[in-house]
């Protein structure tokens, strides 16, 4: 196991490469979820905005 982690002394190279790749994939997963969530939030906000009762735009003229 230790031998596996050491990667013949070149652990830094192998693991950083695999680590960066993993990070990139995870970032993209997060980004997709995040933008989806943001879009749904904005849709929710604009939907409730149109449903909320609005004040009448006509004012009494004295």
């Amino acid at each position: 196991m230790m031998e596996f982690l050491r990667m013949g002394g070149e652990a830094a190279y192998v693991w950083s490469a695999y680590g960066i790749t993993l990070a990139v994939v995870l970032f993209n997963v997060w980004w997709a979820r995040w933008t989806h969530h943001q879009a749904l939030e904005r849709a929710r906000a604009s939907s409730s905005q149109s449903r909320a009762p609005r004040k009448p735009t006509v004012r009494h003229v004295e």
């Binding site: 990667m7 070149e10 990139v24 989806h36 943001q38 849709a43």
Partner: protein, 250 residues
């Protein structure tokens, strides 16, 4: 000529949203399984290389990620072109989704390439290596696409202008690629500059191929995943999105 029904359905945002939603879990599972199997095989099962020792194991990441980054640009350019010519909004949505995925994969390719270069070539960066130059220029092409999009407030204009840029870019990609290879062929100087990746021994081939499949599925998984967010964003004020959002609240 009557087009099949599915052809028209593919232009319908709610349909694609639902379809993508159903496909995403499957693609995700397949991608993760393939990635884990490929990584395990490449790291633990495949024997060390005669010349490069353990460091060669980056061969199960770097070429695949680089290949996907180029594929991402093509996907982006083709869908942007389709969106421009036939005015299909969903096609533009695909292009926009592909761009950040392609950009991050390009960065990953350059990073893993540099990490691999240090122990094998002796240096992190070799300007005269054609693949580094090609990939770096590809990064600039992605960044310029993103920058151009960001400069426009009107989404429709941004879509169409960046589509032109993407198509011009994709035509250039093979030209750039072969120019750089020719340019490098002039520099066959000291042998330490050679981009000798180890020739694939039979024990190393399966994980290499598995990782190609893994990253390809992963790309499409990420693409469909991101596409859903794009669709909701673009269709924010439509009835089907309102129903979707209210349905979720219920």
């Amino acid at each position: 000529m009557r087009l099949p029904r599915w052809f028209h359905l593919l232009g319908s945002p709610p349909f694609v949203y639902g379809l993508a939603g159903r496909l995403v879990p499957w693609l995700g599972t397949i991608a993760i399984v393939l990635l884990l199997v490929g990584a395990y095989w490449g790291l633990a099962v495949a024997p060390p290389d005669r010349v490069q020792g353990e460091v060669y194991r980056i061969i199960f990441l770097h070429p695949q990620v680089a290949y996907i980054s180029m594929m991402a640009y093509v996907v982006m350019a083709v869908s942007a072109g389709i969106g421009f010519i036939w005015r299909i909004k969903l096609a533009h949505a695909v292009a926009v989704t592909a761009a950040p995925i392609g950009t991050t994969f390009t960065v990953c390719a350059l990073a893993t390439g540099a990490i691999w270069g240090r122990p094998t070539w002796g240096t992190f960066w070799q300007w005269t290596d054609p693949r580094i130059m090609s990939e770096t220029l590809l990064l600039f092409l992605f960044l310029s696409y993103l920058a151009l999009r960001a400069a426009f407030e009107d989404r429709d204009k941004a879509d169409r202008v960046s589509a032109i840029l993407a198509v011009v870019g994709v035509v250039n990609v093979p030209i750039i690629h072969y120019s750089v290879i020719w340019w490098n062929s002039l520099h066959q100087g000291p042998s330490f500059m050679k981009l000798d990746k180890p020739s694939i021994a039979p024990e190393m081939l399966p994980p290499f191929l598995i990782m190609i499949a893994a990253f390809t599925v992963c790309f499409y998984w990420l693409l469909l995943n991101g596409l859903r967010g794009q669709i909701v964003e673009r269709e924010r004020d439509t009835r089907w999105v309102r129903q979707l959002v209210e349905g979720r609240e219920a």
